[in-house]
Symmetry: C2
Subunit: 281 residues, 2 copies
């Protein structure tokens, strides 16, 4: 199959490596010439360019993965759609779906939203790796107007790189990831910012020295890419606020148990948390 | 040196392994006969018993590490102190210090509070391992009445097993660990309990399927031992509540930025969090 990847970062680059290893022809588009060169040299693409007109195999392209940051997805589709045949399937890998789907489908009816849940602490083409999607969940978000043949092709491509497939409507996706992916970012960033509220410098510094694996893990996603965190909040505002407010209520309950010295009740809450966590792992 | 360890779990057992490998004679005390047997067979102790009267080398003991759960430390010291010479140094490894020190020093003046910041996801003598304390912080909390010679001996013992030593008063310790160790437990448990607030079962189940490394790390300490979490809250109530309330204010600020669609300000907050986190790692 002839496949295009726009945006050659961690996700786009890793996808290119895997698709090529399955015998597909892959072209890549990046804003940066040096990224194009690196993508070719690591084997993530067969050809690459900074402009769609440079892509020799464009006319034979069957599927395009838009792997840009969330705020560039619609701009990218608007720029490429007029140059593509209507039969080309376009999909994306953004972590928010509702805000993208309607506009994308208007620009190019054969668009299907996608979201592979695969990330590392690193970004960029230099972080691209084979088998990044192996065993990882990937969501496709078809709606009433989705072309079923296109859906089948996309599902099969993601399965070929090892992803475990889920399908749901865009709103269900956005609410789900608000809980388990977007809420943790804000919770975790809040921990770091709260620690900075300690007014006694000696205690603040001691805390920094004593911080161990518990702090490291709980603060990890809060210390991630600030642009990505902010974009996620912007594009998934409603679902994220719902989850944040549920979180505020739960936290207030826990604080009340501690203020009331209701240790039995607190232990019970922590026992429930311990048991529930297993459902997610 | 002749050393006693009371409580042969992860910390007590690991400490025994390391102290014996440095040539010390180590006896152990546990409520469970089978733990005593296992501690001997893995090499964590030279002799062990369920009762202090069983310990043949008790009269030669110079240092005793109380490695029981927080709520048993005072009871343990009260039980053993009358059977010990006043020259014996007693210390503990509990994660809270203020609530222990005064009573412990009253029961046995040559008591010094201690807290090695070393843990794994596992507990019990079967989780004991060599070099658990290597490169890990360990806090001693002397006060005005602390015997300086005893402090020097304890410091040297912890350094011999590789710990990086800090000293501060008990209150500074409790405030510091409230921020970086106790607050994360409540924050993290709150995440798990909040996700359970999703009323749409399909979305709740999808969230469970999609949960990835971000959720796993952020929820890890909240899914830990509920008894330990509750005891920590009980014994460090004041400092923990202070940190929880600072956290509530920080979280309310972040939520306000999202409600106000102040994405520039949110990105700035996340950038500060990203930068601050480096101070703790």
């Amino acid at each position: 199959m002839q496949i295009g990847i726009i945006g050659l970062g961690l996700i786009g680059g890793s996808l290119g490596l895997d698709l090529r290893s399955h015998g597909h022809y892959v072209w890549g588009l990046s804003r940066s010439q040096s990224t194009c060169e690196e993508a070719k040299s690591v084997g993530a693409v067969d050809e690459a360019g900074v402009n769609l007109t440079e892509i020799k195999s464009l006319d034979q392209t069957e599927v395009i993965f838009v792997c840009t940051p969330i705020d560039s997805i619609i701009k990218t589709i608007a720029a490429i759609a007029p140059q593509l045949k209507s039969s080309v399937i376009i999909t994306d890998v953004g972590s928010v779906k509702s805000a993208v789907i309607d506009q994308a489908q208007t620009l190019h009816p054969r668009f299907i939203g996608g979201h592979p849940m695969a990330g590392t602490a690193f970004s960029g083409i230099s972080a691209a790796q084979k088998n990044l999607f192996q065993g990882r969940p990937c969501v496709l978000t078809p709606n009433q107007t989705t072309d079923q043949e296109a859906l089948k092709i996309l599902r099969s491509l993601w399965q070929s790189v090892g992803a475990v497939m889920y399908e749901c409507d865009p709103e269900a996706h956005d609410r789900s990831v608000a809980w388990i992916s977007h809420l943790p970012i804000l919770i975790s960033a809040g921990l770091i910012l709260a620690c900075d509220q300690e007014s006694n410098q000696a205690i603040a510094q001691l805390a920094q020295h004593l911080a161990s694996s518990g702090f490291r893990d709980t603060s990890r996603v809060g210390g991630g890419n600030p642009q990505l965190g902010s974009l996620i909040a912007e594009y998934n505002q409603v679902a994220l606020l719902d989850s944040l407010k549920a979180y505020q209520r739960v936290l207030a309950d826990l604080i009340h148990q501690i203020e009331a010295k209701n240790w039995r009740s607190l232990e019970q809450s922590l026992t429930v948390a311990q048991q529930l966590r297993n459902l997610y792992l």
